[in-house]
Amino acid sequence: MNAPAKPREKTRFDTIGKPRRRVDGRAKAIGQTRFADDLVLPRMLHAKLLRSPHPHAIVESIDVSRAQAQRGVHLVLTGAEFPVPYGIMPVSQDEHPLARERVRYVGDPVAAVIAVDEQMATEALQLIDVKYRKLPTVASPEEGLAKPEPRIHDYGERGNIHRNQSYEFGDVEEALARSDHVFEDLFFYEGNTHLPMEQQASLASVEGDGKLLLQSSTQNPHYLHRQLARVLQVPAAHVRVIATPNGGGFGGKCDPGNHEFVVAKAALMLGRPVKICLTREEVFYQHRGRHPVLMKVRTGVSNDGRLTAMHLQTLLDGGAYGSHGPASTFYTGVLTPVTYELPRFKFEACRVFTNKPACGPKRGHGTPQPRFGQEVQLDKIAERLKLDPAEMRLRMVTQPDSLTASWLHVGSTGLAECIRKVVEMSGWKERRGKLGAGRGLGLACSTYMCGAGVSIYWNKMPHSAVQILLDRSGQVTVYCGATEIGQGSDDVLAGLVAESLGIDPGWVRCVTGDTGITPIDLGSYSSRVTIMMGNAALQAAGRLRDTLAAAAAEALDTLPDRVIFSQDRVFAAQDAGKTMSFIEAIALAEAKFGTLAAVGSYAPPKPPGRYKGAGVGPSPAYSFSACVVETEVDEHTGWVTVPKIWIAHDIGRALNPVLARGQVIGGVYMGLGEALMEEQAFRRLPPKLSSALVHRNPSMLDYKSLTSLDMPEVEVALIEYPDPNCPYGAKEVGQGPLLPVMPALANAIHDAVGVRIDEIPITPDKVLRALEKKEKGEAPRVGPESFPSVPYPAPTFVLPPWEGGDGNELKGQEGRKAA
């Protein structure tokens, strides 16, 4: 089952690699796609949530009688109706659909009104009387470390520390002590949010057979399905979740949302459809976006610019709930060793609860922050050692089919080619340093995984499955739980099946993201869909092709393994004159074998690391990217403009180059927005006058992201070295290309005006402050000045593969000394 389906005789592709209009393009372009908020059912009611105005408080009482009596109101729900907690990860079941005893951030839902229309529901919210007792608040991880009481949650490591961990792969202090240079830098990466165009919406109803149906803008219908069954205490087989096409997700629709449980519960209680659509402000509260991360990076380097060891420490601002936090905490370090050869690596990470909307996974999940730190630090190293930053990186890229110090297996890699390509495209060698005053070029690299190696809940079953049904009309119906969030998963599915069966993608009908009909797919997260769904699809299609070939071979007077599928026809390999249509082949096979259907499934290979925690980071394949940013900096104002970006992405193979380039440019767009302006920032009012702690800018006007006028030209190169673990060699492209943009910008600004901005976003006031420091002869840098004392635990110590390790932890000091 683990072996990827191989395209047997395919040396030349009919569909793969050709730029095509995506299969859902037409409907989206003309407005025909039905997003969750477009759905309307007869007798449908509308829900609105009452949210806490306090950042931290005990809910002493809730009186809903006035709201309940209001005209048009059908139901008022409170936390009393929801005794069972939830959370996307089994170790963080810390949320209730409506708060039961405690609210933890401004915006935490406490009650819900279901009424005839949205206006009536909104008005009735004002009639709910809630008595709160305010509690002291935590606004930052530093404050959370200093103030263990009151605890925001009664679980976690201790005090307000949610997660705290330490891993050491080889003796890092020893390696640093004998390094020619040790670089120590502090970096800060501010939080930001996904900002999908579509606000979350859900419509719950009870189907004719009495079972619950939830149609929702979710990236993960399967996980939502499991949580609905648990929280609502109904059998999982009586729940159906349809993931409607998402108007963008970016990780923001991975967690189950309070609103989804509320409308589901209400529909079950009332027997009528209940719908909710969040306002934009509520989307900022649902959040689950990029964690603010403070980082300390100590890196040992040899005189010739090779890394000897790295000690990375991260401190995450988790917000009020666990969300994906346990994984996010790991991801602020685990992918760091994948890009460059790093003999030893120590990684300590701590996530602290604060009274703000919960952070979680956003495109790149936990990795953009340390990647920013590492890639800016590399630029500083190159500067100090007088090395070309591109050449220095080229000399130490990880090798194909190698292990990292932390036991991740790097399979295929095109990173070196990516670097060479952006150097060539940008004219790096000829233009760098010669652009004139205030203009500069910066380079950075990155990697991302093609799917997490393990599921969010522990099991040994497949991560993705596909069922294909062939109809005698020629129609090919493909079923898969994968969710179209705008990334193009339906197109990938149709393209792969069409290629495998030798037909035009127009013959394929995709039925996806419906847990009542489609086989499992874990969801649209961790860049897993192309490879996992794709491998499952190729396995299913391969099985059908075998069946068709067996039937067609007789008629074509050839052997089954000599049958070729191409251009909607079936041929005998040795004689192209012997041929029949795809439909004729179906008819023969259906007559011979009965109704034609096949399933395929995929689970990732077992990772080599065997220590506890080794499950986060492994992936069947890694993508790589390199990016050059050109910038102009006004020395009088610090104003930064970006005229052009070049990016090369190692995608393995581009299944549909139009889609792939769109994903690359979209990633660059989001990365540049984070680099220059996006901030999920908060205001705490003067404590003597107020206990308020509020989101600073919960609107699309005040939360700044790039407009089309702010977007530079992007030149994209797709580097294609097919990866043997991936369908037709195709790796991910949805997340990786975002990652190098932020450090490349910071490095370009340094090249332009000689100042270092060691924090994201890079705003003009920070640049001007650094320029003023430079003018005064001070260190020309703006960034964090200190790293707090974090009580990281004693590390899990694992020997790297080249030091005789076997992937297991060496227990205790004895084991470590023996090493």
């Binding site: 102009e632 009012l685 308020a692 005040d702 700044k704 006028l709």
Partner: protein, 340 residues
């Protein structure tokens, strides 16, 4: 979505009829033209008028008249202003200001009169009712404290109109009409430095037209600072209008600032300083310093307030260099992200 409060609706066809309705309804009625400012404000419960008096059907408000100067109906959309050749050719600074208001969609709806009467803005105020409840409201609406300056007795919400500083620098006037009669007020005198009571216009008055004087011999420009090339309100607006003699000596100059106080205002000393001088680099730098000293940005809009103050001189410099005839196209593209 965010829902509107309930309201009554009147849709008069003439200015006189509208003025009569306003007089009858009293302060519970509000005018609405494009609605791009008022509708979101109503959703956030900043204003909850009992009656909206729509100016959409009033044809008189949409005229453009040439004379010695130019008279523009207040009901013209900003897109119509931008499309007017007379505005573009004679009143460049005003044209540049109108072209940079919000985004194309909002300019298609928003009107000249609406932009002049734009409610003052503040990051503690332009928030939903629920958000404002979480800070126990603010001085401008429903609360006791100005959270921007907690010792302040006055609301410091910021004037965010682009067209006003440009029109001030050009010496424009507006006509205000009520059931009692009409009056003309210089745009420079239309505003008060109070975030709550920011207009001298009375609730029963309708701003019907903008009258621009003859611009013969004048050059004007407007430089807007905002984070992005579209959509955003200004965090600084520098308007300059200068009359130059043949030898380049400044005969008259008017410099106005927007978005750094609760009103847009003329910096008289800046203009006086330039009078009789040539626009040398030194004179421009000195004028920039004079103007910058009058800017008092607060921490109630986008971007760092100290930085916003720091860059005023540079923006005055951009404006005066453009008037001097320097090729500022590259700098304009970097700041505005569009040719203007």
């Amino acid at each position: 979505m965010m829902r509107m409060p309930w309201f009554g609706w009147q849709s008069p066809a003439t200015i006189a009829e509208a003025a009569k309705i306003l007089a009858g309804e009293g302060p519970q009625a509000m005018l609405i033209a494009g609605g791009t400012d008022l509708v979101p404000n109503m959703k956030r419960r900043h204003q909850t008028p009992a009656t909206l008096v729509s100016l959409r059907r009033v044809a008189e408000l949409r005229k453009i008249a040439n004379g010695a100067g130019l008279t523009l109906g207040a009901g013209l959309t900003l897109t119509e202003i931008v499309d007017s050749a007379a505005v573009r050719e004679k009143y460049r600074g005003f044209w540049q200001a109108a072209a940079q208001v919000a985004s194309p969609h909002l300019r298609n709806m928003g009107t000249l009169g609406g932009n002049l009467c734009l409610d003052t803005r503040c990051t503690y105020y332009n928030q939903s009712l629920e958000w404002r409840k979480a800070i126990d409201y603010c001085l401008k609406k429903d609360g006791e404290t100005c959270w921007v300056a907690t010792a302040s007795k006055r609301c410091v919400a910021v004037s965010s109109t682009d067209s006003a500083p440009a029109l001030i620098s050009l010496g424009a006037k507006v006509k205000l009409v009520s059931a009692q009669g009409e009056r003309e007020v210089a745009v420079a005198d239309l505003y008060k430095n109070d975030g709550i009571d920011y207009l001298v216009r009375k609730p029963e008055e309708i701003l019907t037209e903008v009258v621009l004087p003859d611009a013969q011999g004048w050059r004007s420009t407007y430089w807007k600072l905002r984070r992005r090339g579209s959509f955003d309100f200004p965090v600084l607006g520098v308007a300059a209008a200068v009359k130059l003699a043949a030898d380049g000596t400044v005969e008259q100059a008017r410099l106005a600032l927007g978005a750094v106080a609760s009103r847009p205002f003329l910096v008289d000393k800046g203009g006086e300083f330039l009078k009789g001088r040539k626009l040398t680099d030194e004179a421009i730098a000195e004028a920039g310093a004079i103007v910058a000293s009058r800017a008092k940005p607060m921490d109630n809009t986008d971007l760092d307030l100290y930085w916003r103050k720091d860059v005023v001189g540079s923006f005055v410099g951009h404006a005066l260099r453009e008037i001097r005839g320097d090729d500022m196209r590259a700098m304009r593209m970097r700041i505005a992200r569009q040719a203007l």
